[in-house]
Subunit: 357 residues, 4 copies
């Protein structure tokens, strides 16, 4: 029996740990052959880009960031109609065909919301897909947590720890933009852990005057500096500031994130000294923290078990500390957002942290 | 209204984060006065060692290891009978008396199994105790996780990452003893994350010949090195090796941990080059990782809420991602151990990791 | 006898270690009283902002980033003429006066080129100044190294390590802007350590087409990704791109650094996927690495020895592993730049790293 | 033209960086073929263990600890007489022969004092050896610094930072044994950076009563805890405690290091609570810090330049920030020890640190 494994979407700490667990689990427990598919689903187009993976070929990759299989952000193209490529066929047909030609009895797709949707689309067309959820944003439905998230929070918190001393020494406002287009999990967790004074997240539209009042209050009480953590997708109430628009492929648009806009507004309104730091892609890199390595490993072996049980169209997930599974359809019906009145948000507000509301 | 807060038992990353959250929560949300009690419950004996804590006095302590209140490992003495002290009274009587004299309407006790048992004992004698669970060992019942544990796992995993390269370069067996007298959580999580080949935990008695066979198999297959993670309380099947005895106060006994015994046995039986590292107290120290900071913070504000609600004799806990509470009696009825056939242990065995069984 | 100590200019890891060493050295070895001056030289204006420092007050600050005395970037104002302040006097007169009123027999000024120049200016007006060089940029003349620099290089290298995996997984060009307005030491050392393919520094004007050729060469050879490290003050040959202009106080100007311009040019010319990360102030923060802690400590005790010897108008420095001293006049006559044909630059070029020339 | 490269002795962070620089430098600058010799000099015995190295085969190894070529601690055997092996020939004859048979025009030997001595021995027998100094102990003559040392100091300092909080919280004495059999550089630098109260090094024989007096002084002044850093080879004055004896190959002897003896003595004499941590092999592992990566890289390209210039029998070295060369004979005439009255030691004593004298 032969199965395939691929990684799609933005890279994320822990991808290699999943690949290693899939290869070791499939080989040592089940005796299957494993094909590694390069560059996400596009590795299953014509001609395919695949290579055989053995326990030897995944040796030493457990602590490594990135993915040895490469990835692509263009997963969505797979389901696009012909106009997108100017060709006379749907690219997903190629994938369905290649899975047959390669003789894959199972296809483990590790990726975020986009990759999982493509997985469901292909599953409906007969491809034996098993999904493994991946996102540093932690916004995938139906799983308590995703690997990569804790590493990203760790990276962001370390940055906040460093910025704290410089903010304090210079009595400055430091605005830090972290990842999170639709969900503010990184901003919330890193902000709470890094001692932020203001945390702005997409789930709670903010008011600039509330933010500035918080900062001025601190100055008047003698604290003299403030740390403002902004999720890249944070949104002001009622269009007070222009909403950030982003293109997946766009370089130019990345120049202007919400962090800079918030920083500029604070500088204009309060006259205090402001510095802005956009953490950017460092949040995607680095060696995964132990939690992420282990969740990734458990997801990998569980995905093999699902293949063995023939339970395709499903995604492995974490529920209450245990690895379970859920249908890809269920898992991709929406994004997991922060409830604006969750215990954690209220705990933060108790400590005096402002969400700009 | 006035409340007290203390830290008992071995120190643990995140204690300061709880203290900070208790002080900020009690002051900013409830307007209470807070007394910090020094050196655990012994700070409530005659004469008491207490000091007033304000938001100003807990500034900057969120990322710091240790506890600004100090701690003591001698909590158990509180409940000892007179012979233990050679005096004519029970020390806990002093504590009950001091709580009244100081006018404490609530006493938040942050500590492990021992501290929480004393808390329950005092609660039964009328002291308005709220418990906050703390242990790097993660072995407290009725809470999914305790703060400090993830930091300890992180420290142990970083050590394993470092030892991996030296093991590989020299084709050695490296034995690493980690903390865990009764529960093997640190060994399991760090071993899995650090790519260990053998993990020995108290919950699964090990057979030395199975361990040595695993090591020799790896040599014969050309891997040439092995990483063996040993919880300090790991136990061989049927007394094959003498069981480790430890005294809470003993320095001398600490010289011989199970790590050294396992290392010596491997060296004797396999003739390979063995090195032993006992991680020791570095696992208790350091800045808490974000997960621990945030769990500690949420525990701290939740503990204040329990005081406000008058729900004494309870302990805050984490269940399925939410902060809840449970009676101290329930929480201290036993220790949370690793089920020998849990999904995580089986996942590890799938990857070829041996537990010596 | 009484001496003063202050920190001026941008903050830098190791400032607290110097302060601690000055206080401990002056107290324990010489028995002097120490005044900590707050906010740089401006703490010596009317009214002065000073506080007594004792070994107790510097306890625990060795590993901490920032400065417990606060700092200010406005040191240069001290030497400005009246028009700068719209007042009828030179602010430095206040400082000279306050030093006398406070009875300071020595004034240890820890700072960069700007602070040291003010120190020399005040020394010429009779103030018993001793300088301690500080700059993360490593560009101070007459000392082999400055504390803070190794920590900044460490932070930048850790970021490069993280970005490497994401660059490789996505086959992207990652442009990383690091600090260094006039000198490219951070870019050179972090670029070399982080495996950069291109390093652009102020000392070697770069040609955009050489940079792009290097990147395209790598793509054609299959490497598929490139890491480009850009010092903020890197300059293209002959005004190919507009030279970066910065204001010390300006927030708006900081939005557009050379990193973004280089990234944009590469994207325009090569059509490859480019991402830009501006590391920013994280480079100034964090706990100093051991080298910086120890250099700072040795500078601190040596500064006390200079005060004791009455050798004012001097700066402590590191020469060939030993702490020596040099006149402030000598030390501030220019900046220490990277020789474009140094052995280290040539070593980098041997490895295939392009400096864009 | 063809050259060889090998790594000998204990592993050390930065070995891979040298290998990478040698391979890239030799290939890209000189167009040579490179043979990687496995397991140190023993890879040049019969049969030889070698493999061709290309820029592709060293890709990604810059930040990795350990050595991709493997190493051996048995270098000394090479120069042993026949009785050591019970054979009728000197093993070094094999090496001389293999170098000829493999057609090596140069042999770059990366190693410590032992490896460099073998290099000199082989050079005298006609082998075109170039040495690259390596030791985490920093004790090689004729070079200001060796790579690996700063990484080891960093690891030890991070451990001290962690132990500080636990020592303070429990008011304990923590004894930390670090590497350094003959030279105390790691103990001195890590102890200074980690805020140690006592530092014991081989170069300054210590008196146990002076050590205990320092600890008791701190208790009486209210500090309540102490950090004692002990180099493994620290020696008491006049045999107060039995001198540590170690065997290169011995496992059993490693159980009893000077750290435990010092800890036991302090516990016996002062009755305070003592904990001992032996850092051990973690100090040899991990990703090299930037300084070590860059020194290793520069050593690697400089070694190629020496081969190209035909300057055999030499060792690359760092002098005053520049890479130079020195004869192997000079470099191996002794070990670089800490001068007991160096400015750095005196600076430490000024801060109140005791060396037990």
């Amino acid at each position: 029996m032969k199965i395939g494994v691929l990684t799609g979407g933005g890279d994320c700490p822990g991808l290699n740990a999943v690949i290693r667990a899939v290869v070791k689990g499939a080989t040592l427990r089940y005796g299957w052959e494993i094909l590694g598919i390069e560059g996400g689903f596009s590795g299953l187009r014509v001609p395919p880009h695949v290579r055989v993976l053995t326990p030897q070929s995944v040796r030493g990759i457990l602590p490594m960031g990135g993915t040895i299989l490469g990835t692509t952000s263009g997963n969505h193209m797979i389901t696009k109609n012909r106009s997108a490529e100017g060709e006379d066929h749907n690219p997903s047909d190629e994938v369905v065909e290649q899975v047959k030609l390669l003789g894959l009895s199972g296809l483990i797709a590790i990726g975020g919301d986009g990759t999982l949707r493509v997985g469901q689309y292909l599953f409906e067309r007969g491809v034996p897909v098993i999904g493994v959820p991946k996102t540093i944003d932690n916004d995938i439905y139906e799983t308590d947590s995703t690997f990569g998230f804790h590493t990203a929070v760790n990276t962001a918190t370390e940055a906040l720890d460093k910025l704290h001393t410089t903010a304090e020494s210079h009595r400055r406002v430091i605005v830090v933009e972290v990842m999170g287009r639709y969900a503010g999990w990184i901003a919330l967790e890193a902000g709470l852990a890094g001692g932020a004074d203001v945390i702005l997240i997409p789930e709670i539209p903010f008011q600039m005057d509330v933010v500035c009042k918080k900062i001025m209050d601190r100055y008047q009480k003698g604290a003299g500096f403030s740390i403002v953590v902004v999720a890249e997708g944070a949104i002001p109430v009622g269009g007070e500031m222009s909403v950030l628009k982003r293109s997946e492929d766009g370089y130019v648009l990345r120049l202007g994130g919400m962090g800079h806009k918030v920083g500029q507004e604070i500088a204009d309104r309060t006259q205090v000294d402001v510095r802005v730091t956009v953490l950017g892609h460092v949040q995607r890199g680095g060696s995964p923290v132990p939690f992420d390595r282990n969740l990734a490993t458990r997801f990998g072996t569980a995905a093999c078990d699902l293949v063995a049980a023939g339970e395709f169209g499903k995604m492995v997930c974490l529920k209450g500390g245990r690895i379970e599974s859920v249908s890809l359809k269920e898992a991709t019906r929406g994004l997991k957002l922060i409830p604006p009145d969750s215990e954690e948000v209220r705990s933060a507000e108790t400590l005096g942290i402002s969400f700009g509301r």
